[in-house]
Symmetry: C2
Subunit: 386 residues, 2 copies
């Protein structure tokens, strides 16, 4: 099996892009990443996208984006794993390189969510849950996450203030990220004063509906050398894992355990030959503050029930032992669903290249964790400085 390295990254700002279409967002990010790698062509394209059909009446995104970016007759497909589509697309792109079948692969994650009415957006997002058993009964993602949040607080004795700390941390970091949707630091009181959208979950516990695209270019070390990419830009995809869990939350044996993330992390750590303690920064899936807490536990950064403790102790800050959401996370950078996993990859790569606005000093290893559904489809990827 060949090794895979990221040699270029690109993004669009996350926000409400009323005047830019899905294809234009994707092409912008893609060309930015190709520019970063100083390339004018690639061999193959993988698109991470959850739900362009309902949102913008467009599928066949592989052909659309490769065509519009002028990439010629290359292979191009879309990868869907709900909100983990971006993370899965990065892994599929890396796999194509590792197999030896493709030399230089582009991965772009894109989502255009603001063209739909907000009520429709909530419904479309619920397609990631069990449509016949959850969506049909009106259980939105916010509602399902609120259930988990309440149960977590009850079980381990946390308060709404405790979980709000994840949002506060995300905003502190996002404020320095020019690509972030919300660039304003907030306080715990801001979160607490925001309206309940599903008790105990408040508006500021949740990530926003938004638009954006991010891209990475992946190749082998041999090809990167041949292309003359300076080694400072290489970021190795050292470990990958992915796993599913019951799609329906009601079938979950333990509501407070992201078993899919545990399995995915275990596999990724094994492939990379490292442990959780070796990781310098974590980009986890804080679609809701409760998911940040559970994610930290699932990837081994905290023991069970201690995820929120890390936030209370200040360990999740840039200068803590477990820095998370270093460029704002889903909460502050934004969560254009199918693009998020690629944004995480870009941000982790920038950290490892030493080019992040909120640089984690001497970062060598980063972990990205991307969740689809209510913990039903999770990717974990380990990136390493070369």
């Amino acid at each position: 099996m060949k090794k895979a390295v990221i040699i270029g990254v690109g993004m669009t700002p996350v926000g409400e892009h009323w005047k830019t279409s899905l294809r234009d967002l994707a092409v912008e990010a893609l060309l930015n990443a190709m520019d970063d790698a100083n390339l004018d062509k690639v061999d193959s394209l993988y698109v991470g996208n959850m739900i362009s059909g309902p949102f913008v009446e467009q599928e066949n995104l592989g052909a659309l984006i490769a065509d519009w970016a002028g990439l010629g007759h290359i292979p191009a497909v879309k990868i869907e794993a709900a909100c983990a589509s971006g993370g899965a697309a990065v892994q599929e792109g890396a796999k194509a390189v590792m197999s030896g079948l493709e030399d230089v692969v582009a991965v772009v994650g894109v989502e255009k969510m603001t063209d739909a009415w907000p009520s429709d957006a909530t419904r479309y997002l619920a397609y990631a849950s069990d449509a016949e058993w959850e969506l049909f009964h009106g259980a939105s993602f916010v509602a399902l996450n609120a259930l988990v949040m309440r149960y977590y607080m009850h079980t381990y004795g946390y308060t709404e203030e405790d979980l709000a700390l994840f949002a506060v941390n995300a905003h502190i970091n996002g404020a320095k990220n020019p690509y972030a949707m919300f660039k304003k630091p907030i306080k715990v009181e801001t979160v607490l004063r925001s309206p309940y959208i599903a008790d105990p979950l408040k508006l500021f516990d949740a990530s926003p509906v938004c638009d954006g695209a991010a891209a990475v270019i992946i190749t082998t070390p041999e090809k990167a050398k041949e292309l003359g990419i300076p080694k400072e830009k290489w970021v190795e995809i050292a470990g990958m894992g992915r796993a599913i869990d019951t799609i329906n939350l009601a079938n979950r044996k333990d509501l407070l355990r992201l078993k899919a993330a545990e399995v995915a992390a275990e596999r990724a750590y094994k492939m990379a030959g490292i442990e959780a303690k070796d990781v310098d920064l974590f980009e986890v899936h804080d679609a809701f503050t409760i998911m940040a807490a559970l994610s930290l536990e699932a990837v081994g950064a905290a023991e069970r029930g201690k995820g929120a403790e890390l936030a209370k102790e200040g360990q999740i800050a840039i200068d803590g032992d477990y820095p998370i959401q270093t460029m704002g996370g889903l909460k502050s950078r934004g969560h254009p669903v199918g693009a998020t996993g690629v944004y995480q990859t870009v941000e982790a790569a920038l950290q490892l290249r030493g080019e992040a606005p909120n640089q984690v000093p001497d970062a060598e290893i980063a972990l990205t964790q991307n969740i689809g559904g209510t913990g039903s489809n999770i990717t974990v990827t380990i990136l390493r400085r070369v």
Copy 2:
């Protein structure tokens, strides 16, 4: 790079499955394939599906199907390449095996189309075209294919009768396939008497809106041996190619050339070390009769403008030099869009195992070609008897 072999196949009948949901169709096909390979677990799942969101309000199909099939915490994603989703999923599954990252991979293609109103189905399918430049102006797939059909007839001097022969051949073969939607042989007159849906394209030039699922199990030859799968059941995935073309038909330099299929076929032939003349049977994408003609030309079975000639000469029949659609093709077996590429793979594998109802004598090499959009995303896969 490792080799990949198919060791199990499964299908559901294609039809209007009013009482069966998408998940149940997919699980049925998947478990049939696992039974065929005598397995009770797999390491990973790839789902080929075009458009479950609009049709049945469900995404995250990887988690849904793996969960419902009881496969545990495995990796599972959906692959979308419009109507070529199934063909692309087979290739991604094979790539995972070839990379060495997965040992035993299941691929299931599934589509549930009949839950939507027919007018909505036409609209949803058009998401595979250029939504902003084609769909917006009301150009349905039938309309776009009718344009190409008229131009083909005009350029090369063919008649509607000539193209009808592709539908007739498909129905002759489909009549013997227990999994086909339409099991009744038809005559040229049947096609000609059917109503125009977009002149010169008639109802019987077109494949039906329908439901169905098909699955294959892929592994390495080493693992197949270890699992004790008899060699008669092995079918090698010998070559794979995939390419895109302009998503918008108006941007195509040559309307009568499936350039993406040419590029895909060239790559697949090269990987398999064979030429078009070595292929014993072709499962091509006859979503419309015109596409069968163009596909034969693109994969090198006929010169340009001579695809329909093969039908006139009887070469596309089981006993001809270029047998196509040996189990009914999209026209008679049916075209549950995202499942079609996997049905083609299953059917080709059955031919190479000598188990097809319309057996091509001594078939050793089969080619499947699966089209997404109006020729904008095409996969070509070469299968070989081991």
